[in-house]
Amino acid sequence: MTPADTGVISGGWGFVWAAYSVSAVILTGYAVSVLARYRAQRRRRGEVKR
């Protein structure tokens, strides 16, 4: 019985890791981008206390 006969997918951990890695990279990258832009804008207004 092959996977095509049973309809059962075997393996696939590479796809699982890819999905979680892409999610982690995009969410972390976007969060860092928002924080960096926000801090830069506040610095421009002189709001960040040194």
């Binding site: 997918i9 393996g11 699982v16 999905a19 928002v34 926000y38």
Partner: protein, 217 residues
């Protein structure tokens, strides 16, 4: 808009829940009978979908309030919700493509759910581009609010596409159709993504508000 530590707390809480939920989904939850380990993508894909739709629904509410209240705070919140909604929707398409390859045999298919989601990314992404091209803050707020209200028509179409048309994508799952063993990692990641989304929208809206203040000063 007042300075507050709440968004940072939401980001930290969201991150912690996502790490916990993902660990549960990857290592503790049982393997699904037919999709095997590939089904574990659900624990990150479905929360992304729910929260992308929530962010864009919040953008729609902000667009209405921006038009009728004429308050720049709502325009700033609109910009924050639009950007976060577009990032989550684009991420949703990528996760979906990765899940589609081992289950459908292709990375992408122009089926109703996928096509309407792609339209969503480009429609709301286009509104963000429009905002960059309009210098007048009042015109920018009005035009982008009207465009966001029009683009929002696609959100219910995305949701109902799997019911209205013969879609390759599965229909919505409910607690009755998903095994109890899969509930907790899904819920933990859904709340993690929700807190992360709220923190990001809040910070991004403050950034938009500070920029507008600088423009009008």
């Amino acid at each position: 808009m007042k300075e507050s530590r709440v968004p940072y707390g939401l980001l930290a809480l969201g991150l912690a829940l996502l790490v916990w939920g993902s660990y549960w989904g990857l290592f503790l939850a049982p393997r699904e009978a037919y999709m095997g380990d590939v089904q574990r993508i659900m624990y990150v894909h479905v929360p992304t979908a729910w929260n992308a739709m929530l962010a864009l629904t919040f953008a729609f509410a902000c667009a209405l309030l921006s038009l009728f209240r004429d308050d720049p705070v709502w325009d700033a919140r609109l910009e924050g919700a639009l950007e976060v909604g577009v990032v989550l929707s684009a991420l949703l398409c990528m996760q979906g493509a990765i899940w589609a390859k081992p289950t459908w045999g292709v990375w992408w298919d122009w089926d109703p759910r996928l096509t309407t989601t792609a339209v969503l990314v480009f429609a709301f992404g286009g509104i963000l581009a429009l905002r960059e091209f309009v210098d007048d803050p009042v015109k920018r707020a009005t035009w982008s609010a009207v465009a966001a209200i029009i683009a929002y028509v696609d959100v219910p179409i995305v949701y109902f596409s799997v019911k209205w048309w013969n879609s390759l994508h599965q229909t919505q799952s409910s607690p009755e159709t998903v095994s109890r063993a899969f509930h907790w990692p899904l819920r933990i990641n859904a709340f993690g993504m929700l807190f992360l989304m709220c923190g990001l929208i809040s910070l991004r809206a403050r950034l938009a508000f500070l920029r507008r203040e600088e423009e009008t000063a």
